[in-house]
Each structure stands twice: as C-alpha cells, then as structure tokens.
C-alpha cells in the first residue's frame, strides 16, 4: 500500500478521495466483481465520496463515483483502494 492509501470502506463519510486501484481483494470473490466495478466507473483517478452507510452494521455503503451513486456491499467496497484528497482526521 502506498502512503495515504486506504480501503474505500474506511473512508470517512463526506471526505473526497481518488481511486488508486480496483482489484478483487478476496481470492474467493468472483473475478467479475472487479470488472463490473470498473465498468460502473471505479477507475484509477476518479473522485469518490461516501454518501451514506446502512443502519445495520454500517453496511451497505452508498458511494458517489464521478457523477453517479452506487450502493456497494462491504466485500465489493473492499476491492477499491482510495487516497483521500486531504489527510483524514483520526
């Protein structure tokens, strides 16, 4: 992991970040998860922001990617690594 790079699921709601990489993190996750995320616009360099989180176990996550918004389950969000625009407060 590069310095400053975090998992999308760890991004604080409301903080803007850039996508660094998209890959199927869990080897058991179907390979098409990474491909579909890319087709939805989760591509390196794109701006992301967490719009909302579910009320149970903070899942799923509603993510703004570019100008669209998608709900992702945690294992899907785990495939995306991002770099916050500004350092996150701890």
């Amino acid at each position: 992991m590069q310095p400053g790079e975090i998992r999308l699921a760890d991004l604080k709601p409301g903080t803007t970040a850039r996508v660094v990489s998209v890959s199927a993190e869990d080897a058991a996750a179907p390979a098409e998860v990474g491909r579909r995320l890319a087709e939805l616009g989760f591509l390196p360099g794109e701006a992301v922001r967490i719009v909302a989180r579910g009320f149970m176990a903070r899942a799923p996550i509603a993510v703004r990617i570019g100008t669209g918004t998608f709900a992702l389950r945690l294992f899907e969000a785990a495939c995306v690594r991002v770099c916050p625009e500004r350092p996150q407060p701890l």
Partner: protein
C-alpha cells in the same frame, strides 16, 4: 402512407445505461403503440413500439434493457449485447441505434457510447434530461460533442413532447435499411480498454464541458435524511405501512363491489335463464371464473401505483439499500421486501411486483416464497376454524387467545418463507452476492409513464394470467359437476362428481393427517382459491345457506363433528398448501415456464403434508 409497421420498416434500438430516462423517452416516442412481451427463452421484458415520422416513414422502435456495458453480466445486459451484435435468435439486428445518455451523468454514460461506436452500427446520441442538466448549471456543447464523438448528438427531454422533436428529425432521415446486414466488429474489452475509454471520456468532457463534480446535489440533501441511520428506516417503515394499508384496506371496497356486482349479475342471469347445464356452466363456471380474475384488479392497480411512483422517483433503490442487510441475511435482495409485503394481501400482485428485482436468482427465490406470506384469502378459512375450535378467552394477562393463534399462523408463514429462502439460496455463494445498485438522482414521477406502466401491468394480468385462471375455473367447475348424481341419490351432488371421487381417494391419503372425507372433497374445488374451501365445505355438508351465511352455519357443525387435532391440522395445511391456481398461473406467466409453478406446488404440498402430519400427531398425543 404505411399505417402499420411491417418487417421492412427500419428497426431502431434505444440503448443506454439504466436510469438514463430511456423508457420515458420510449414512452413519449411511441405513446400507447407498444407491445410488451418476453424475449424468447428468458424472462427479460421486450418492449417494441412504432413511430410515424413527419415525412410518413413508419419506424419500429425497440427499447433494449438498460446496460452498463456490452460485456454482459446480467440476463438483461446479455439480451442487449446479443441483439446489437445480431446474434440473438428470433431478433433482427437493429438498423439504427439511439444511444440515450443522462446529460447530468455523462462521465458514466459516455463509456457505453464509445463501446457502441466501436460496433459500427449507424447511431445518434441523445443527451437526455438536458433540461435538468441546464437547471443544474451543466453546460454541454452538443455540437462540439458531436465532432469529438464523430456521431450526431441531439438534446432531448424525455418527459415533454416538444423535447423529442430534434430526435424525431434525425429518425426521419435515417438511411433506408441496406439489403445486407451490417457486419459488426466486437472484441471483449480488457481492463486496459476500460481505462483507455475513461481517459477518452475525461478528455472529451474537458473540451465540451458538462462535468459537474463534487457539488452537493439536491439528491444528496434528500439522501441525508432518506438514508439517515435513524430517520431512513422510520421513513421507510411509514411508506411500507402505507403500501400495506392501501393494498389491504383500500382495495377492499372495490373488491367487494366487484364481488357483489358479479353476484348480482349471476342472480339476474339465474332468474332469466331456464335451468340447464348451460346455465350452470355460465353462472358457476364462466361468471365465477371471470369474477375471480376481476377481483384481483383493485389490489394490482393500487400496488403498482405505489411501486411505479416509488420506482420513477428513485426511492425504490434506496429502500433496497436500507433493507439490504435484513433481507441479505436470508440471501434475498433488499428489493424483495415490497413484493413480499404485498403478498400479505395477495401473492398475485406480489409475484408480479418481483419484476423490480434485477438478479434473476433473487427474483425466482422471492417468487417461490411469496405464497407463504399469509394472504387475505386465508383469513376466511382461519376465521372459520379458529371461531369453531379456539375458545374465546384471554391469556397471559389480556391477550385474546383467538388473536394469538391468528398471529402465530402469520409468524409461521413468515418463518417458513425465510427458511425456504435460506435453503434455496444456500450454496449460491451468498457471501459474495453482488449488490452494486445504482441510486439514481431523485425525480418527480411522470404521469404519462405512470399511466403507461400501470396499463401494461393490467393488460398482462387480464390477457395472459386471466385467460389461464378462467380456463382453470371452468375445468374445476366441470370436475365438480360431472357426472351428475344418480336419481334417488341422497348425498350432496358433488359427492358423485369426479371431484367427489378424487376427494374420496384423497381421504385415504389424508387420513394420516386427520382429514375426513368431507374436508378432502372440499379441498378439490378449494384449489381454485383458498376461501372457496369454506363454500365447498358448505356444499359437502349440504347446507342450504349461501354466501356469508355459510360460515355462520358451518361453525357449530364442524365444532361438533371434527376433533381439535383435525382442526389444527387443517390450519397447518392452509399455512403451506398452494390452494390457489391463480397464483400458480401467475408464476407460470412471470417465469415463462411450467417448471417453476410445478416445483412451487410440489414443495408447498410437501410442506403442508409434513406440517399437518406433525401438528396432527402432536395434538393427538396431547389430547
């Protein structure tokens, strides 16, 4: 001027991302001249319409399912890709493509435009929702975009007649279909291709404008409340309660009106016609059948008004978002909630409402468990048996015992549905079941889309489901009427019919679960619909009472002649048994095959028999 479309009319395909306003555009281009069917072999909806251009050219318009990519992951996307590539059997390759884009979300939509362009089919790009884009301050240089893309670009507003004029102008002058099909070039894109396309999209957007990033939108402000960890679920609960209340209670008045209307007409017909077999067929077969189809209409209309408004406004995916964890725990999609909730009123509108679930396996699982929700047709049966066997007394400090039993029956239905869903979805990698659900911007629902959508549901129900239900009703009437009782027969007429004979055989089969021959016979006509069993029991016990009086007259009779274990066993039977041909007919229509209604009937009868057996044996050993 060619009035009706023919096979030689040019075929124009509407293609676009989900939520780009494509269907609204299709509705306004084709109006009510639409044909809704399924693509051969799959349950993906096929919508075709036609348009007469100002110069008198009749074109056919095909509304292809929304797709994020031409490299398909869902059955919907597979249809879209296959039709465009000309490799779907039974479908002709389109002569011209209208690529519909959401002008407020070009960053996502333009990638599909680039893929389509590579196919080489003649095309035009429609910048849809251009009015909303302008209001949001997104200025797109359409002429420049056309130059950059190398294809014509027109601005459209899919909810206004004047908003599609520029598009119609383009369609008016499309080249005549060539004698030979287009040869398309296609190779599956790699990750590098997608990245390359996105780089191109960024470059194009930087020159044509229209890239409003990072702003807090109106939808964001709504979502701050609608998806709030506390307010979100509360708002959803209120909306779901309203839907449930409407389907359950508001539909009651029109349903009663239809029932009594059919009844009055039947009485008039009965008085007007001389007694004959034909009269019996007309009144007890055809008219009763028509009535049993019509009676579902109020619930279907009310439910679909709610669903279409929730869907068109963009709230439905938010509801799925909020319920994803709850429904996901048994492997269902969050979208399964509304169909299942409606199934408490009636499984038929519930099963029809599963169309909003995109994943076909989730949809099938939801269809399969929908009839386990306690529908309103079970209530007359429950009321009869509970009234006759469960004493009127309070337990646990003030709870009405009869009410507790009724509540337990509801819980039993829900619990068994969750269990069946869990079994159905087990082993399908539920841990990694995809959600990836788009939450589109909120919109005001459009009345035209609402009316067209509602009419399509009503038409599907009346013409496709209704005809099967009607036919089954007439067959059941014949089974219960033939052969006629011999002269001097003392028992009720139904005892001598085929249904009566089947019932006597069933009595042997049902003896281990405590059903007597009267119950067994009543279950045969009771296949038509659950509440019919009450009337059928009245017939078997040769009551002279009719209509609502049957229940009152039956209560003391069965209280005397059935044992408590038999009564409890019958209650358990009604929790599970698929005693509703209309539901099975709807499943047949919605899954496009007889396989699933047969599986449904099989597993539900099996559950019913086992459930009744256990109930009967336990009750026997306790009494």
């Amino acid at each position: 001027m060619d009035a009706s479309p023919s096979a030689s009319s040019p075929l124009i395909a509407l293609v676009g991302n989900p939520n780009c306003g494509k269907t609204a555009l299709f509705n306004i281009l084709t109006g009510s001249r639409q044909k809704v069917a399924n693509y051969a072999g799959v349950t993906v909806e096929r919508k075709e319409g036609s348009l007469l251009t100002p110069s008198g050219l009749r074109v056919r318009i095909l509304d292809l399912p929304g797709a994020y990519s031409l490299d398909p992951l869902t059955p919907d996307e597979r249809v879209t890709a296959d039709v465009l590539l000309g490799r779907r059997s039974g479908e002709t390759q389109p002569d011209f493509v209208v690529c519909v884009t959401d002008a407020t979300n070009l960053r996502q939509n333009l990638r599909l435009v680039l893929s389509l362009k590579r196919l080489g089919l003649p095309m035009v790009v429609a910048l849809n929702m251009s009015d909303i884009a302008r209001r949001k301050g997104i200025a797109i240089d359409a002429a420049r975009l056309s130059v950059e893309l190398g294809v014509p670009v027109v601005e459209t507003v899919g909810v206004k007649t004047s908003g599609v004029a520029p598009l119609i102008e383009v369609l008016d002058s499309i080249p005549a279909p060539p004698a030979a099909r287009h040869s398309v070039t296609w190779r599956t894109p790699t990750a590098a291709d997608i990245q390359h396309d996105q780089d191109e999209v960024r470059r194009i957007l930087s020159v044509v404008g229209g890239d409003a990033l990072d702003g807090v939108t109106f939808s964001d402000r709504v979502d701050a409340v609608a998806l709030h960890p506390l307010f979100g679920p509360v708002i959803l609960a209120v909306i779901l309660f309203l839907v449930f209340q409407a389907v359950f209670a508001w539909a009651q008045v029109p349903m009663d009106a239809i029932k009594s209307g059919v009844g009055v007409f039947g009485e008039w017909l009965g008085a007007a016609l001389p007694a004959s077999l034909l009269k019996d067929l007309l009144i007890n077969g055809v008219l009763a059948g028509v009535g049993s189809v019509l009676v579902f209409l109020p619930q279907i209309i009310i439910l679909f008004v709610f669903i279409l408004v929730l869907e068109d406004s963009g709230y439905l995916p938010r509801a799925a978002f909020l319920l994803d964890r709850v429904m996901g725990s048994v492997g269902l999609s969050g979208r399964a909630f509304i169909p299942l909730l409606s199934s408490f009123a009636c499984a038929i509108p519930g099963i029809m409402a599963t169309r909003t679930i995109q994943n076909p396996r989730d949809r099938l699982a939801t269809i399969m468990i929908a009839p386990l929700m306690t529908c309103s047709a079970r209530l007359p049966v429950y009321a009869l048996i509970i009234g006759a066997f469960i004493p009127r007394r309070t337990v646990w400090g003030g709870l009405e015992l009869q009410g507790v039993v009724l509540f337990a029956l509801y819980i039993l239905g829900v619990a068994s549905a969750m269990g069946v869903a869990f079994v159905l979805k087990r082993g399908h990698g539920s841990r990694f079941q995809a959600l990836m659900l788009e939450l589109p911007a909120y919109h005001w629902p459009n009345l035209r889309n609402l009316v067209i959508g509602l009419w399509q549901r009503v038409e599907i129900f009346m013409s496709r489901v209704g005809t099967i239900i009607l036919a089954l009703m007439v067959i059941l009437w014949a089974l219960s009427s033939f052969p006629a009782p011999p002269s001097g027969a003392t028992g009720p007429a139904i005892q001598y019919s085929i249904a009566g004979h089947v019932g006597s055989w069933l009595a042997v089969l049902f003896a281990p679960i405590g059903f007597n021959w009267q119950i067994s016979i009543a279950l045969v006509p009771g296949l038509a619909a659950r509440e019919v069993a009450v009337g059928a029991l009245g017939t078997v016990y040769a009551l002279s009472a009719t209509g609502n009086d049957v229940s009152g007259a039956l209560t003391p009779l069965i209280a005397q002649s059935w044992s408590l274990p038999t009564a409890l066993s019958l209650l358990a039977w009604y929790v599970f048994a698929p005693q509703c041909l209309s539901t099975l007919a709807t499943v047949k229509r919605e899954t496009n095959s007889w396989k699933y209604p047969l599986i449904m009937a099989g597993y539900m009868f099996a559950l019913a028999y086992v459930g009744s057996f256990i109930t009967y044996r336990i009750a026997l050993s306790l009494s």
